[in-house]
């Protein structure tokens, strides 16, 4: 089955600067959920855009055919960490169609808050 696009954008991005609750589920995190429903491996590149410096990346990931992947921006390491408490946006590209959704769990206060939205699909 094939569904999706090869270019996506998430205009909102922010890793809360603190959190509490049992790890790893309740740690504050910013995630990008990606579905590769197709029959070929997806080669993903994610570029991070900041307010006052040049973009960082691309961060590279592979997703096997017919697999889901929930990536936490908190864990991005290469080429560099994404700073906490800093606004950013991201662009996600792939060699095959994928579907992208953005989710945040914010546990800075004693109860967690959640957001999620489908990302913006490009024309490709």
């Amino acid at each position: 089955m094939s569904i999706g696009r090869t270019q996506w954008a998430i205009a909102e991005g922010y890793i809360p600067g603190w959190g509490h609750g049992p790890a790893p589920q309740m740690i504050s995190h910013e995630a990008v959920c990606i579905l590769n429903a197709g029959e070929a491996e997806a080669n993903i590149e994610i570029t991070i855009y900041y307010e006052d410096r040049d973009p960082a990346g691309p961060y590279r990931f592979k997703i096997a055919p017919r697999r889901s992947s929930h990536l936490r921006f908190n864990n991005f390491e290469n080429p560099e960490k994404i700073p906490m408490d800093t606004p950013f946006s991201s662009v996600i590209t792939s060699n095959v169609p994928i579907v992208v959704q953005h989710t945040r769990l914010d546990s800075r206060q004693s109860e967690n808050a959640l957001i999620s939205t489908i990302a913006f699909p490009g024309n490709q």
Copy 2:
């Protein structure tokens, strides 16, 4: 009235591993809300994609004409249960146009958190 598409995807999926509050309203749940606004019965098939195993499904549902259906992934039984505390994605297909929206109620902490987003509509 006809509105919608016959193929949808939800990249985010996760059934919280615990919860509290009065049942059934406040039990942690992951739901897919489907509208069949048309004049024909909808035959729905849902496939679940995981991070590290082959997809499960299809889970089959019928929705009568001019009806809404709010399905909880928690309650999917056939061909198998969806494990809790496990990331997944889903693809929803129908023989007639439908509209699909994703909602989670997370009551793992003492106050509930909610997310909702329209699913991604395929080209069909």
Copy 3:
């Protein structure tokens, strides 16, 4: 300025059965936010779809040119009230292009939870 579509759907719909906090802001509510950015009055019709009965409506509203309107499903009266604690979906049509977004404030527990998503735009 003209932006939007003349047909929209919201697959999720649910008026929480209780709530607490100061009225009117913190009363649990399910809302449809509509923008009429154009130069002509919008004649809106909203139909409510249920899980186990025929649809209700249309509920009719007028929105003046270049105006926003945040309608609470809780307050719909004619032709009938929408029951609380009951899943539904809605279809919103207009004679001129509008933009539609869905929001819920759920204050059933001591802290409020919020969801919001752009509605699904039809082809018209």
Copy 4:
């Protein structure tokens, strides 16, 4: 890289009338997150639509090439402040393609609540 549209709308808009928690992160706010992934400066105009008065604006912003910008409606000053506890909608236009997402942090009760959704992209 180019992604986005030059016209967007957010039908929901509301600046909570109060809040609590450490500033500036936990102050109740309504934000529009904008990505300009292209190679040219973006000239942004935002118009605010109200329920019972003429629109206000345009509010003007510039976003440098390859930059993200998270703007808080709370901070809009020119031509006028946006009142708190008042429903509104917004239309965002740009001379170059951008991506727009809407986010609210509501800290009126002791724990914060969050919403986020991609805005509605116009045809341009």
